[in-house]
C-alpha cells in the first residue's frame, strides 16, 4: 500500500515537473517564434546559426531549463519534507546508477573507439626496427587495455554496489600487507618485462654494428623555417662538410666546397630510397629546433642547431606495396616537422618514396648537384670542369668512416 502510494506520488510529481518544464519552454519558444515571424518573413536560418546571439540565447535557454528543473526538484523535496515522507530522491542511488551506466556506455565507447578510430591509425611499420616497435606497442597495448578495463569495472562497480543505503555500516579494513605486497610486486614485474623489452629494442635501434658489405646510404637532412633540404652524397657516398658561416643567398646550406667530397653532392626534392637497404640519416638544423618525424617508418629525432644527430634504418615496404596494402592508390610516405618551430610549423613536409634498387639508381642519376657555376666562382673552382669531379674513391671513405659511428655525437 505504502509502496504504491510512494510510486504514484513520485510519478505524479515527476509528471508535474515535466509538464511545467514543457509548458514554460514551449511558451518561450512560441513567443520567440512569433517574434521572429513578425520581424522577418523569409525563414533562412543559415545566417541565424552563424550569429553569436543565437548561441548565447540557446545557452541562456538551457540555463533557464536547468533552473526550472532545479526549482521543481526543490519544491518536490520540500513538499515531501512537509508531509513527513521519506526523501523523494535518493541521490546516492542516482549517482551510483549513473556510474554503473557510465561503465556500460563507456565500455561500449572504448570498444567503438578501438574498432573505428583504431582502424584509422598508421599502417604497419615500413622499416625493420619499426616492426619491433609495433610488436612492443601491441604487447603494451594488450596489457594496459586489460588493466584499464579491469580497474574501471572495479571502480564503477564498487561505486554502484557500495553506495550508501543508510542501512549498512562500512567494513573497517585499514590495511592488508599481503594484498599490498601483491599489488606492488605484480606491477613491478610486468614493468620489468616491458622495460627490458624497451631497453633491448632501444639499443638495437641506436647501436648498430655496421656491415661492411651493406653500407648504408648517407642522406643529410637540414631543417629550417619552414622547409626541409635533402642532400644526397653523390657517387662517393660521402656527404661533404658544411659550415653554417658559409651560408648566403646562393649557398643555402653553407656547403664547404673546398672539401672534395662536396663536389658531387646532390640536391633532391623528395627522399627516394631503395627498399631493404640501410639508410643513414644525418640530421641538422639551420635555425631553430625542428623534429624530423617519419611516422610510417617509426622514426623521429630532433634536428638541433649546432649538433648533428644520426638515425639508421632499413625500409622494408615500397610505396607501391604500401598502396596495395592500405588499399589507397594515393598513399605516400612522408616526413614532417613535429617540434614547434614557428608559424609555418604545420606545413613542413616532404614526400618519401621507397623504390626498388634499380629505380633508385635511375632516379639518383637524374638529380642535380649543389655545386652551381655561381658557387664555383665563389670558391675559385674551375667553372667548366667536368661535374663528375674525380671520384675520390674509397681511401677517403675509409678515413671518414671512423667518424661515422652510429652513435650521436656533437658535431664539434
Amino acid at each position: 500500500m505504502s509502496l504504491r502510494k510512494f510510486i504514484s506520488n513520485k510519478t505524479i510529481a515527476a509528471l508535474a515537473v515535466i509538464l511545467t518544464v514543457f509548458a514554460s519552454t514551449s511558451a518561450f519558444a512560441q513567443a520567440a517564434g512569433a517574434a521572429a515571424e513578425t520581424v522577418a518573413k523569409p525563414i533562412d536560418m543559415g545566417p541565424v546559426y552563424k550569429t553569436v546571439i543565437f548561441y548565447t540565447m540557446a545557452f541562456l535557454l538551457v540555463c533557464l531549463f536547468v533552473a526550472i528543473i532545479g526549482k521543481a526538484l526543490k519544491v518536490y523535496e520540500l513538499t515531501r519534507e512537509a508531509q513527513d515522507q521519506p526523501k523523494g530522491i535518493n541521490w546516492n542511488t542516482v549517482n551510483g546508477v549513473l556510474f554503473a551506466l557510465f561503465l556500460i556506455v563507456g565500455l561500449y565507447g572504448v570498444y567503438w573507439e578501438y574498432t573505428v578510430h583504431g582502424k584509422m591509425i598508421l599502417p604497419e611499420a615500413a622499416s625493420e626496427h619499426g616492426k619491433k616497435i609495433d610488436q612492443m606497442f601491441n604487447i603494451t597495448l594488450i596489457i594496459t587495455t586489460i588493466v584499464f578495463i579491469a580497474t574501471h569495472i572495479i571502480l564503477f562497480v564498487f561505486a554502484y554496489i557500495y553506495r550508501s543505503t543508510g542501512k549498512r555500516k562500512a567494513y573497517y579494513y585499514p590495511h592488508n600487507n599481503a594484498l599490498e605486497r601483491i599489488w606492488t610486486i605484480v606491477p613491478a614485474l610486468v614493468l620489468t618485462v616491458l622495460v627490458l623489452m624497451g631497453f633491448l629494442t632501444w639499443r638495437s635501434i641506436f647501436y648498430k654494428i655496421e656491415d661492411p658489405n651493406n653500407k648504408p646510404i648517407n642522406i643529410e637532412i637540414t631543417s629550417s623555417q619552414f622547409a626541409w633540404a635533402i642532400r644526397y652524397p653523390g657517387a662517393d657516398g660521402i656527404v661533404g662538410l658544411k659550415n653554417y658561416k658559409l651560408i648566403n643567398s646562393i649557398n643555402a646550406l653553407g656547403i664547404d666546397f673546398k672539401d672534395k667530397n662536396t663536389l658531387d653532392d646532390q640536391t633532391a626534392d623528395e627522399m627516394v630510397i631503395p627498399v631493404n637497404k640501410p639508410v643513414r640519416l644525418i640530421l641538422t638544423s639551420k635555425d631553430v629546433l625542428h623534429s624530423f618525424y617519419m611516422p610510417h617508418f617509426r622514426i623521429q629525432l630532433n634536428t638541433v642547431p649546432g649538433m648533428t644527430s644520426y638515425f639508421e634504418f632499413t625500409p622494408t615496404i615500397t610505396t607501391e606495396e604500401m598502396k596495395a596494402k592500405t588499399n589507397d592508390p594515393k598513399f605516400a610516405y612522408l616526413f614532417l616537422c613535429a617540434k614547434i618551430c614557428g608559424e609555418g610549423h604545420y606545413k613542413m613536409q616532404k614526400e618519401v618514396r621507397v623504390v626498388s634498387q634499380a629505380e633508385y639508381e635511375a632516379w639518383v642519376k637524374k638529380q642535380g648537384t649543389y655545386l652551381t657555376d655561381d658557387l664555383r666562382k665563389e670558391f675559385n673552382l674551375p667553372v667548366a670542369a667536368a661535374p663528375a669531379a674525380v671520384a675520390p674513391a674509397d681511401s677517403v671513405a675509409k678515413d671518414t668512416s671512423a667518424v661515422k659511428t652510429n652513435q650521436l655525437a656533437l658535431k664539434k
Binding site: 598508421l122 580497474t151 579494513y173 631553430v288 629546433l289 649546432g306 614557428g342 604545420y346
Partner: protein
C-alpha cells in the same frame, strides 16, 4: 597510551591578543596575513585564471575544428590577431603556449597547492597560522603579480609568448624566429621568475609549518594524507623550482645580453648569428629538471585531497595509510631522476635514454599502488556521493586512464613514434590536467563549508560533475588515435596534409565536447559565487569527518581555535570502527572515551595502555559483533 590521562598544559596565552588586531578592509581582504584568507585569494585567482585558460583553449579548438571558417566575433575581440575572423598561425601558437603556462603553473600549481596547502596545513595539523604569515602574504602577491604580467602580454603589439609552454630555445630566444619571442617572451620570463619566487615562499612556509607547528599528539604518522601530500609537494617545489629560475636567467642573458648558453651555429634566413658554443639541449635539461617534478607537484596534492575525500565519503579508513605515504615519498624521490624521458628523441646520448626509461617505468609502481589502494578503500564502503566524492572518483578514473598511456611514452622505443604527437596531448591532459583539476574541484566542494561557512548546492555539483566527466573523456579519448596516426601537436591546421584530413570530423566532435565541457563550468561558477553569499549555512562538521579543521568554529577567527588548540590522540581515519556506535571518531577523541572500539594496534606497543584496555575488557564483556 600515556597521553590519555595527560592534560594539555601548553601555554597558549601568547595567542590571546589575536582577536584584538584592528582590522581594516585592506588588512582583512587585501593584504591579509591570515592563512584562510590567503587560501581564498589563491583559489579565486586560480579560478579566474582557469576560466581564462579554458577560454583560450576554446579559441584554438574552434580553429582546429573549422580551419576554413571565419568567425567575425573573433575579430571583434582579438583585432588583428584574428583578421577576417580567422585566428592567425602565430596567434594560435600563442594561445596554446599561454593556455599551457596558465594551466600548469597558475591553476594547478598555485591554484591547487596555494589554496589547499594554505587552508589545510594549519587547520589539519592544529596550528594558529603559517610559520610566517608575512611571507605567506608575499607569496600570494608575487603570484598575483605574475598573473598580471602574464596576461599583460595579450595587450602588446607583438603578442604573448608563443614558443610552446616549454619555451625551447632557439625559438624562444630569437625575436626573428617568431613574433611572440619579442616582448611577449620577456614578459613570460619575468612573470615566471615572480611565480617561482612566490612558490618558493609558499613552499618554505609549508615545510616549516608542517615540521614545527603540529599540535600536541600530532606526530608525522598521525597526519592526514592531505598534509603528507602538501608537505612532499612543497619539498619537491623548493628543490626543483630554483633550477627553472637558473634556466630562465640564462635565457634572459641569451636574449638580452648576447651570451650563448643555448645558442650555437644559427642562421636566420641568410643572417649568420654570432653565437657559438651553446646548446639548446641544456635548456631542455634545466627545464625538465623542474618540469618533471612539476607534474608531480600538480598531481600529488590532488591525490592527497582525493585520499581524504574518498575515505570520508566511503566512511572507511583509507586502505594502506602507510603504503600511501611510502608511495608518495617514492614518487617524490623518483621524480627527480626521470626528467630525461621528455628528451628521448632530442638527440641526447641514447645511453641516457635507456637509463631514464628504467627510472620512469619504476615510478609507475608507486602510482599503481595508490590506485589499487583507492579501489580497496571503496570496497565494502558506505559511499556517500557528495559532489566532492564524485570528483574524487573521477580523479581515480582519469589517473588510471592517463597513467596507463604513460607506460607507452615512458618506453623510449615507443616514444620515438609517439613523441610530440596528439598521443602525448591526450596522455597528459588526462593524467595531469583532468585528474589534477578534478582533485582541485573535489577539494573545493569538500572544504567550501570551511572556507566560506556555507554549503554549495549539491545538485548543481552533480550536474557539473557529470557534464565535465563525460565531456573530458569525449575530448581526450579520441585524441590518442590522432597520435597513433602520427599527427603532431601544435599544428595550426590539419589542412596541409592528405593523411590528416580524415581527422577533421573528429576535431569537430572534440571541439563540441570541449564547448559543452566549458559551458558546464558555468554551473560550477554560479554555484561557487552564488553560495558565497546565498548558500545554506554550513554546520560545523558537514561531512562527519575526523580531521582537526572540523573542530574549529564555522565563523573564521584569527588563530583558528577560540581556546586551546585541541590535542590529537589518534590517526585521522577511524571511520566505521567496529564497536563504536557512530561511524566516525575525530582525532581529538582520546582512547579512554572509546573503550568499546579500541583495537590492539591503536596503542602502538604502549604496554600500559594495553593493560588498561585489557582490564576494562575483562570488566565489560563485549556483546558479539553482529
Amino acid at each position: 597510551m600515556s597521553t590519555i590521562s595527560l592534560h594539555d598544559t601548553h601555554n597558549h596565552d601568547s595567542h590571546d591578543d589575536h582577536g584584538h588586531h584592528k582590522e581594516t578592509f585592506l588588512t582583512k581582504y587585501v593584504f591579509s596575513q591570515d592563512h584562510k584568507m590567503i587560501a581564498k585569494q589563491f583559489l579565486i585567482t586560480g579560478i579566474i585564471m582557469a576560466v581564462i585558460a579554458m577560454g583560450l583553449s576554446i579559441l584554438f579548438r574552434l580553429q582546429l575544428a573549422w580551419p576554413e571558417k571565419s568567425f567575425p566575433i573573433l575579430e571583434t575581440f582579438l583585432g588583428s590577431w584574428a583578421e577576417g575572423g580567422r585566428i592567425k598561425p602565430d596567434f594560435y601558437l600563442a594561445l596554446v603556449t599561454i593556455h599551457g603556462t596558465i594551466m600548469v603553473f597558475f591553476v594547478l600549481t598555485a591554484g591547487l597547492s596555494g589554496t589547499f596547502s594554505n587552508l589545510l596545513i594549519p587547520l589539519q595539523i592544529g596550528a594558529r597560522d603559517m610559520a610566517s604569515p608575512f611571507l605567506n602574504m608575499l607569496s600570494y602577491w608575487f603570484f598575483f603579480g605574475a598573473c598580471v604580467i602574464m596576461m599583460s602580454s595579450f595587450f602588446i603589439q607583438t603578442g604573448p609568448a608563443s614558443a610552446g609552454w616549454t619555451i625551447y630555445p632557439p625559438l624562444s630566444a630569437l625575436p626573428t624566429a617568431i613574433k611572440g619571442s619579442a616582448l611577449g617572451m620577456t614578459l613570460w620570463l619575468i612573470s615566471m621568475i615572480m611565480f617561482v619566487a612566490s612558490s618558493l615562499m609558499g613552499g618554505i612556509n609549508y615545510v616549516s609549518t608542517v615540521l614545527n607547528m603540529r599540535t600536541k599528539g600530532m606526530d608525522l604518522w598521525k597526519m592526514p594524507l592531505t598534509i603528507w601530500a602538501f608537505f612532499l609537494t612543497a619539498i619537491l617545489g623548493v628543490l626543483s623550482f630554483p633550477v627553472l629560475v637558473a634556466g630562465v636567467v640564462l635565457l634572459i642573458f641569451d636574449r638580452s645580453f648576447g651570451t650563448s648558453f643555448y645558442l650555437s651555429d644559427i642562421v636566420m634566413g641568410t643572417q649568420v648569428l654570432p653565437n657559438e658554443g651553446g646548446s639548446p639541449i641544456l635548456w631542455q635539461h634545466l627545464f625538465w629538471f623542474l618540469g618533471h617534478p612539476e607534474v608531480y607537484i600538480v598531481i600529488m596534492p590532488a591525490l592527497g585531497i582525493s585520499s581524504e575525500v574518498i575515505s570520508v565519503n566511503s566512511r572507511k579508513p583509507i586502505f594502506g595509510y602507510h603504503a600511501m605515504i611510502y608511495s608518495l615519498i617514492g614518487i617524490t624521490v623518483l621524480s627527480f631522476i626521470v626528467w630525461g624521458h621528455h628528451m628521448f628523441v632530442t638527440g641526447m646520448n641514447p645511453l641516457l635514454g635507456g637509463v631514464f626509461m628504467i627510472t620512469t617505468l619504476i615510478i609507475a609502481v608507486p602510482s599503481a599502488v595508490k590506485t589499487f589502494n583507492y579501489l580497496a578503500t571503496l570496497w565494502r564502503g558506505n559511499i556517500r556521493f557528495t559532489p566532492a566524492m564524485l570528483f574524487a572518483i573521477g580523479l581515480v578514473s582519469f589517473f588510471i586512464s592517463g597513467g596507463l598511456t604513460g607506460i607507452f611514452l615512458g618506453n623510449a622505443s615507443l616514444d620515438i613514434n609517439l613523441h610530440d604527437t596528439y598521443f602525448v596531448v591526450a596522455h597528459f591532459h588526462l593524467v595531469m590536467g583532468s585528474a589534477a583539476i578534478f582533485g582541485m574541484l573535489a577539494g573545493v566542494y569538500h572544504w567550501y563549508p570551511k572556507m566560506f561557512g556555507r554549503m554549495m548546492s549539491s545538485k548543481l555539483g552533480y550536474l557539473h560533475f557529470w557534464l565535465t566527466f563525460i565531456s573530458a573523456y569525449l575530448v581526450f579519448f579520441p585524441l590518442h588515435f590522432l597520435g597513433l596516426d602520427g599527427v603532431p601537436r601544435r599544428y595550426y591546421a590539419f589542412t596541409e596534409f592528405e593523411f590528416m584530413q580524415k581527422w577533421l570530423t573528429v576535431n569537430v566532435f572534440v571541439t563540441w565536447a570541449a564547448i559543452i565541457g566549458a559551458l558546464a563550468q558555468v554551473a560550477f561558477l554560479w554555484n561557487f559565487f552564488y553560495s558565497i553569499f546565498k548558500g545554506k549555512k554550513a554546520p560545523q562538521n558537514p561531512w562527519e569527518a575526523n580531521t582537526l579543521e572540523w573542530t574549529t568554529p564555522v565563523e573564521h577567527i584569527h588563530g583558528n581555535w577560540p581556546g586551546e588548540i585541541p590535542t590529537v590522540y589518534r590517526w585521522p581515519y577511524d571511520y566505521s570502527k567496529p564497536g563504536s556506535d557512530v561511524d566516525f571518531i575525530p582525532q581529538t577523541v582520546p582512547f579512554s572515551q572509546t573503550m568499546t572500539s579500541n583495537m590492539p594496534h591503536d596503542f602502538e606497543g604502549n604496554t600500559e595502555a594495553e593493560r588498561i584496555q585489557r582490564e576494562w575488557e575483562a570488566k565489560n564483556p563485549v556483546a558479539p559483533e553482529q
